[in-house]
């Protein structure tokens, strides 16, 4: 039976590749599972997204009602939507961890620079997925969060106005914005992701799994590091992780179904306490707390500086493989990475909890004294 398909579909090449592929065994082997986990969650996104698109209607008059119908009238619609949203959140979290552990293992070293770059670009694309998908239910919170989020692009120097118009498809968030975000979410971003993911997986296969320097030193060379066959040893362990993720997702969807909220009222007042998704919260907090002007210079607007800073940080992360050129630069990079992680955790916690926010308020005041 297998021979029937192997002969006709040319699967022998794939099977030979799978048989040849080995995964190194060392203290941080567990981090290798994050990539597979991200792939599984992405698969979940695609499957649930396709099912949702069968009922979703991308117009301001029908979007909210169609999502409500999915949750109340379509069989298991509530489960599909909750799985889609929860797996999206878990996917972003897993991607953050994947990038961080890849950095910690210095897996971006040559010749894997482009594997790193495609991975970082994939993270950016998934963040864009999250941002565009957030608006689609057309509820009050999403509408105003999108209005605030897209307004941030307007402060970029020179091209800000054009970026804002492009993001919103007009001066304000309207039905045109919804259509644009829908197209972005279900056509443009998936095409980009599939292309980039294909390249990323190809590069992973081509260069094999990176072995951390510590393991190489311990065993003398990368070839001497113990390894396990990808099929079936690693794949079966990967599957255990996927089943655990499936169980967690099912529990989250059943116990904490994602709420729908109120239908967006473009003419209503901005609801109190609007916040973006947790993965944008650190940026939101920073932009909210920056002074209107830096160093009392009129044109140096706080928001603009913040947006440029985060843009620069994104670019910096992208080119990390080319900046790691020696022990000294590596030390600087490690310090910056540690600071970035602490900064992300603290600012996200401040966005989630007023109590935590109050803890850091004196430090913030002290820092702002130097900036205003």
């Amino acid at each position: 039976m297998l021979a029937f398909f192997v002969e006709r579909l040319g699967l022998d090449a794939a099977l030979a590749l799978a048989a040849k592929k080995h995964v190194p065994i060392h203290r941080t082997t567990i981090f290798y599972f994050l990539g597979g986990m991200a792939l599984f969650l992405f698969g979940m996104q695609v499957a649930t997204g396709i099912l949702l698109s069968l009922y979703y209607k991308p117009s301001p008059d029908q979007a909210f009602e169609s999502v409500r119908a999915i949750m109340t009238e379509v069989d298991f619609g509530w489960l599909i939507r909750s799985l889609h949203v929860w797996s999206a959140n878990l996917l972003i979290g897993v991607l953050f961890l994947h990038i961080l552990t890849t950095y910690m293992m210095r897996a971006y070293r040559g010749p894997r620079e482009f594997t790193w770059i495609t991975g970082v670009l994939l993270l950016f694309l998934f963040l864009a997925f999250g941002f565009s998908g957030y608006l689609l239910p057309w509820n009050q919170l999403a509408f105003f969060a999108t209005r605030v989020g897209t307004a941030i692009t307007g402060v970029v120097p020179v091209v800000g106005k054009d970026l804002l118009l492009m993001a919103r498809s007009g001066e304000d968030v309207t039905g045109d914005t919804l259509a644009r975000f829908y197209s972005l979410h279900v056509v443009i971003l998936p095409l980009c992701v599939f292309a980039l993911l294909g390249l990323h997986l190809f590069l992973v296969q081509k260069h094999g799994m990176s072995v951390p320097e510590g393991a190489v030193e311990r065993y003398g060379s990368a070839e001497k590091v113990p390894s396990m066959p990808f099929v079936p040893h690693f794949l079966l362990r990967d599957m255990v992780g996927w089943y655990v993720a499936l169980g967690i997702l099912a529990a989250l969807a059943a116990l904490f179904p994602w709420e729908l909220g109120q239908k967006a009222d473009p003419f209503g007042a901005t609801p109190e306490g609007i916040k973006p998704e947790w993965y944008f919260l650190f940026m939101f907090q920073v932009l909210k707390k920056l002074p209107p002007q830096f160093l009392s210079i009129e044109w140096l607007e706080g928001e603009m500086v913040g947006v440029l800073f985060f843009g620069f940080c994104g670019l910096f992360v992208l080119v990390v493989p080319f900046l790691d050129i020696g022990r000294r630069t590596r030390r600087v990079l490690n310090i910056l990475a540690a600071l970035a992680v602490v900064f992300f955790v603290v600012m996200t916690a401040r966005g989630l909890s007023d109590t935590v926010d109050d803890w850091f308020a004196p430090l913030e005041q002290w820092l702002l004294r130097f900036l205003t």
Binding site: M228, Y243, A254
Partner: protein
């Protein structure tokens, strides 16, 4: 130096400096004039009135009312008439182009004095003359049409039918309210020179803007000294109306919620024709807003009983100025319900059948209220558990509407229509309760299925782990 000599001297000075003054103080060349002689005059030249009336040195102590102070001039800038281009002579008549005092104030030129001879400038203008002066334009449709295509011109006619107008006509009472009492400032004080700062009615600062009307009326009607001796149908007018109205549901809606459709004094009493509604007209006054209730009440025998007993319609149960938000506790025969006041002891011919109807209606209202409350609690529970329940939540509003309808219909004092409305509400609330209960069941169902679905997942994980243990150890 007498006043006349001062005026002549100042006139001479003005003649010498007229070109410069004219350049400094331009006046609209085509300022519209009121009807009559003034309107037929050629376009106004320099407004010389202020050359004398704006000069403090011209006026003796007993003529200070004629002095237009800087404050009055500042107020004039905001005056709706001034803004529309009207000047002194357009209201007061006379000739504004001459420097000669007698020509300027010649009655044949249409000059309208607000005082009778001998003129006493230490006192306010005569009320009747004020009313006639304003009415000269405001009762003239031909003239007023210039400013608005369909203007009101019935204010003067209405005024003479009002309590104020009647008192003025009957007794010439100098304290009585006239146009400027409400539109400008309180009248009657010795310092009153007339501020001339009359604002448009829709100007937020106007004393007759909706939110300020009651306070404006209260300047007199809440003042014991002013109101002393005034009676209506042999009863003292009292001074508590404003205080009571402030505590009412209407004042809360108007002043706190900012609902400009909520009633203030003039909605029930009229404005220019202000008069308390007669006993038989109270329901009509309330019905101006509460139309359905008024029409239901009009068809009842109760209304005729009320009229026979001289009871003031709606106010009999709801009071007049201090109207509180109605509640179901007002209906029935227990716990201070208003129906009991008459039906308990057969007062005014109230019947036992009426008492029974009140009890039935109250029981029905309580029943639907409780059902709605229970359904709402179930919906809240389901929402708290994360269930999507917005449709039943929205539908519950229909039950609220049915309850409101029943509360309205009880003013027919008939059980059947109230019960029909309550039945509509009960039908809706039963369906909503069913959906809300189903949401809770669904939540439990999901938890059970979650547990059930986790079992195969755990079995597969276990099998995988077992299988992994059988694989040869990698090297």
């Amino acid at each position: 130096m007498t006043s006349l000599w001062r005026i002549l001297l100042l006139s001479a000075i003005w003649v010498a400096s007229a070109p410069a003054l004219a350049a400094e103080k331009p006046v609209p060349a085509e300022a519209p004039g009121p009807p009559g002689k003034t309107a037929e005059k050629p376009p106004a030249g320099p407004n010389q009135c202020l050359e004398c009336h704006g000069n403090a040195d011209v006026w003796d102590k007993d003529q200070q009312r004629l002095f237009v102070t800087k404050e009055v001039l500042a107020a004039l800038a905001g005056d709706i008439h001034w803004q529309k281009g009207l000047r002194c002579a357009d209201c007061h008549g006379g000739n504004p182009a001459t420097e000669e005092v007698n020509q300027a104030h010649a009655e044949e030129d249409g000059f309208r004095s607000l005082r009778s001879l001998p003129k006493d400038y230490t006192k306010p203008p005569q009320p009747a003359k004020v009313v006639e002066l304003c009415g000269k334009c405001h009762a003239n449709i031909e003239y007023m049409r210039r400013y608005r295509p369909s203007p009101r011109t019935d204010q003067l006619t209405e005024y003479w039918t009002s309590g104020h107008g009647r008192a003025l006509k009957a007794t010439g009472d100098p304290k009585v309210a006239t146009c400027i009492s409400c539109h400008d400032k309180p009248h009657g004080s010795a310092e009153d020179r007339g501020k001339h700062g009359i604002l448009a009615v829709d100007n937020l600062e106007s004393p007759v803007y909706r939110t300020r009307v009651a306070k404006t009326c209260a300047k007199c009607h809440a003042d014991e000294k002013v109101m002393a001796g005034y009676q209506y149908h042999g009863q003292p007018l009292g001074v508590k109306q404003y205080e009571e109205w402030r505590a009412s549901v209407h004042a809360q809606a108007l002043l706190i919620k900012g609902d400009l459709s909520a009633p203030t004094c003039n909605n029930c009493h009229g404005n220019h024709g202000a008069l308390p509604p007669e006993v038989g007209s109270v329901a009509n006054a309330c019905g101006a807003c509460h139309g359905k209730i008024a029409s239901l009440f009009a068809e009842t025998r109760m209304k005729h009983h009320f009229e026979q007993e001289k009871l003031p319609g709606c106010a009999t149960c709801h009071s007049n100025h201090k109207i509180q938000p109605p509640s179901d506790t007002m209906v029935g025969m227990e716990g201070g319900a208003v129906c009991a006041k008459c039906h308990e002891n057969g007062k005014y011919g109230a019947t036992l059948a009426g008492a029974e109807a009140a009890r039935t209606i109250r029981a029905g209202l309580n029943g639907l209220s409780d059902q709605i409350k229970r359904a709402k609690e179930t919906i809240d529970d389901a929402e708290r558990l994360g269930m999507e329940i917005s449709v039943p939540k929205f539908e519950l509003q229909k039950a609220f509407n049915a309850l409101t309808n029943a509360r309205t219909l009880l003013h027919s004092f008939q059980v059947k229509p109230v019960e029909a409305a309550l039945a509509d509400g009960q039908k809706v609330v039963t369906e909503v309760q069913g959906k809300a209960d189903h949401a809770l069941v669904e939540h439990d169902y999901r938890r059970v299925w979650l547990a059930a679905s986790l079992v195969p997942v755990l079995i597969v994980i276990g099998l995988l782990l077992l299988y992994i243990r059988t694989l040869p150890t990698p090297k």
